[in-house]
């Protein structure tokens, strides 16, 4: 957060202290009454302190500087008006006495940013400056005995001077009325965040306006008697002004505490409802999130549709969301929120985090899906290759060797009739050796990819497998319908690998194969009565099976306690 103390703060505070010193000198050094000047200096000091504090807390707002200026002008006016015998100095001091009121009007109408946003507001502020600075020159407000002469005061209280005075009084009242209306409009048009800050400011400003108006009404001849308590109310009202403005500025910091909640909320649920959380933090139920898309070169809404941002200058404003210097999205919100750029900065930073989070989340899911499908593709490519090798063996080497075996048998039979018994025996041995080789080749080819699986389905293939197995196999098959080829192949290899292990490593004497289909899932189980102790080792057949089953989104469970046989269960999703 951008929270640095303005470097000029110390200098301004020292300047304020000097002014207080000058203004208080007559009372302290010359024994003049302390009470009236002390009362005045308290107001000025309070403005300076609250102004500097607000400036530090909200460096982006002009309210702090305006309030500091009001305080300094207030003190300067007292320092000049009460300490010099020179008429010129006294007159300048008088001009400055009411100047802080114009600054207060400016502050209130432009609150909280300190920048006026409409022609009407600008008019109200300018008329306040004109009426107060020009008007005071003609009104002889400091009619005190022993004071130096007000050089600008209209000496006559009759004739044209009286009319001028009347005109100033009326325009001052009109100014006050415009000020009251401007505040109401400002409240009406303000976003919830602005209103929240405006809560302490509005009644204080209205109260002060009402009290001031009271004096002018009396001056115009309305029979009201200003009382001592009236002056007390006026004094308390002006004291309340800096406190109310500072409180208003600090309320925006309270609003910013919601940003902390926002960050926590968004962090807790990466796919969460971003818009709702942002609306809550900004207190703007109309807020919308636009997602930047690099390929599109534009924005999309949450549903992925192209989204156009509102044109500049309308009721809706746009704040770009950046992450690491790159545009990731935009907030479309109530224009009034621009008055609190620090809040917008904080919320858009939080939104940037959330968008980044969402993007990473989606990326991880996409990567995961990529890996999953590439795993499936690898398994499928392997199967296709095994099928191709089996076909090549069958069409090539197996055919030629079979033909060769037939030729050998024919040769043996013919020699047998001619009587060369040793040659006949040699040929018979060769034929037998070739038959053995053919048998092994056939088993190898069948293990690579059994054609029956594609032709006849899983049950037929498992029956064939049980037939050829080296140990007795009991089949309990309950999945008669054809399934997707990858599912059948995976189930077949689970059984094939399990039966091979049972016979070769587990020294089992018996195995049971079960299949069962339920709820879009094929369950395959192979249990043997061997020695158990089978484990998933890297590069083992079981690991290959796990890859195969998991590539289809399934699971493979191996239970093999030593001495209690092995149980292999595969759950494979299928339609």
């Amino acid at each position: 957060m951008n929270l640095h103390r303005p470097p000029q703060g110390v200098g301004l505070a020292v300047l304020a202290l000097m002014l207080v010193g000058i203004a208080a000198r007559p009372a302290v050094v010359e024994g003049a009454p302390l009470y009236p000047i002390g009362k005045e200096l308290l107001v000025g000091g309070l403005f300076v302190i609250a102004g500097l504090a607000g400036w530090a807390r909200r460096p982006d707002s002009r309210t702090g500087p305006l309030m500091t200026a009001a305080g300094l002008v207030w003190l300067l006016a007292r320092a000049l008006a009460f300490t010099s015998d020179s008429s010129t100095v006294f007159t300048v001091g008088l001009v400055l006495v009411l100047a802080p009121i114009a600054l207060i009007v400016h502050m209130a109408v432009a609150f909280p940013s300190g920048r006026v946003s409409s022609t009407f507001e600008r008019g109200v502020v300018i008329s306040a400056y004109v009426v107060i600075l020009a008007g005071v020159s003609f009104l002889d407000i400091a009619r005190c005995d022993g004071c130096p002469e007000n050089l600008l005061a209209l000496s006559s209280r009759s004739g044209p001077g009286q009319w001028a005075e009347r005109a100033v009084q009326i325009s001052t009242l009109l100014s006050i009325a415009a000020f009251v209306v401007a505040l109401a409009v400002h409240w009406q048009r303000g976003a919830p965040a602005t209103r929240r800050m405006f809560v302490p400011v509005l009644p204080t400003a209205w109260l002060y306006a009402a009290v001031s108006a009271g004096f002018y009404v009396v001056e115009l001849g309305v029979p009201l008697t200003p009382t001592r308590s009236w002056a007390t109310v006026e004094y308390l009202a002006i004291l309340a002004v800096p406190i109310a403005f500072l409180a208003g500025l600090l309320r925006s910091r309270l609003a910013r505490a919601d940003v902390g909640t926002l960050v926590v909320e968004l962090g807790g649920r990466p796919g969460g409802e971003l818009r709702g959380a942002l609306a809550k933090a900004l207190r703007d139920p109309t807020v919308d999130v636009a997602y930047w898309n690099d390929d599109l070169g534009g924005y999309r809404d949450v549903g992925g549709n192209t989204m156009l941002l509102p044109p500049a200058g309308g009721d809706r404003a746009t704040t770009t969301i950046e992450r690491n210097g790159l545009r990731v999205g935009a907030l479309v919100h109530d224009r009034a929120l621009l008055e609190d750029p620090a809040l917008l900065d904080a919320v858009s930073a939080a939104a940037g985090l959330a968008l980044e989070n969402q993007r990473l989340h989606a990326e991880v899911l996409a990567r995961l899906e990529e890996v999953r499908s590439s795993r499936a593709r690898i398994v499928e490519a392997g199967d296709a290759e095994r099928q191709r090798v089996e076909r090549n063996l069958h069409d090539g080497a197996q055919q030629r060797l079979v033909t060769l075996a037939m030729a050998l048998r024919m040769a043996r039979d013919r020699i047998g009739t001619d009587g060369d018994l040793s040659l006949a025996a040699l040929l018979a041995d060769a034929a037998e050796e070739l038959n053995q080789a053919l048998g092994e080749l056939r088993e190898l080819a069948a293990g690579l990819h059994p054609p029956i699986l594609a032709d006849e389905g899983l049950e037929a293939a498992l029956e064939s497998l049980a037939d050829r197995s080296l140990l007795p196999v009991e089949l309990r098959l309950a999945a008669p319908r054809r399934l997707a080829a990858p599912v059948e192949v995976a189930a077949y290899y689970v059984v094939s690998e399990a039966l091979t292990n049972a016979a070769k490593h587990a020294k089992a004497s018996h195995a049971v194969v079960r299949t069962c289909r339920a709820d879009h899932r094929l369950d395959v189980e192979v249990a043997d009565d061997g020695v158990g102790g089978a484990a998933m080792r890297p590069g083992s057949g079981l690991e290959g099976l796990t890859d195969r089953v998991e590539a289809l989104g399934g699971t493979l469970i191996v239970q093999s306690p030593p001495g209690e046989g092995t149980r292999l269960v595969a759950h494979i999703p299928c339609e």
């Binding site: 069409d395 055919q399 033909t403 075996a405 024919m410 056939r442 029956e463």
Partner: protein, 120 residues
């Protein structure tokens, strides 16, 4: 009279060797075919008494050809053969109307004659 035989296989080497073996063993090979379509045409034309039928053919498989042949007016004795074992085809061999299965590695005139003679 020597029994007439039709040999159906897409491998020329096997057809050649089987013809020589069967002719030595007392069969008369009246025709050869390389695929299912050729086999059905040759059976129609030559009316062989016996068909030695490879399971794996480029168009239809041997089981389908055996069914077609069994539906004909003069159904021949059909003996399936393959470089694979019968168990690799599961129950298909048993369900087929073919009269027998001889693995190619065990093919001989006497083996065929036995199946032929056993057929009424």
């Amino acid at each position: 009279m020597r029994p007439t035989v039709l040999i159906v296989d897409d491998h020329a080497g096997f057809r050649d060797m089987a013809r020589r073996m069967l002719e030595i063993d007392g069969f008369e090979v009246v025709a050869e075919a390389v695929d299912a379509a050729g086999a059905l045409a040759a059976a129609q034309e030559h009316r062989p008494q016996l068909v030695l039928l490879d399971v794996q053919l480029p168009d239809l498989d041997g089981f389908a050809v055996a069914e077609e042949l069994a539906l004909g007016a003069f159904p021949p004795v059909v003996v399936l053969t393959s470089s694979r074992s019968a168990s690799e085809y599961g129950s298909r061999v048993g369900r087929s109307p073919a009269h027998g299965f001889v693995p190619k590695a065990e093919l001989s005139g006497p083996a065929l004659a036995e199946l032929f003679d056993a057929t009424p």
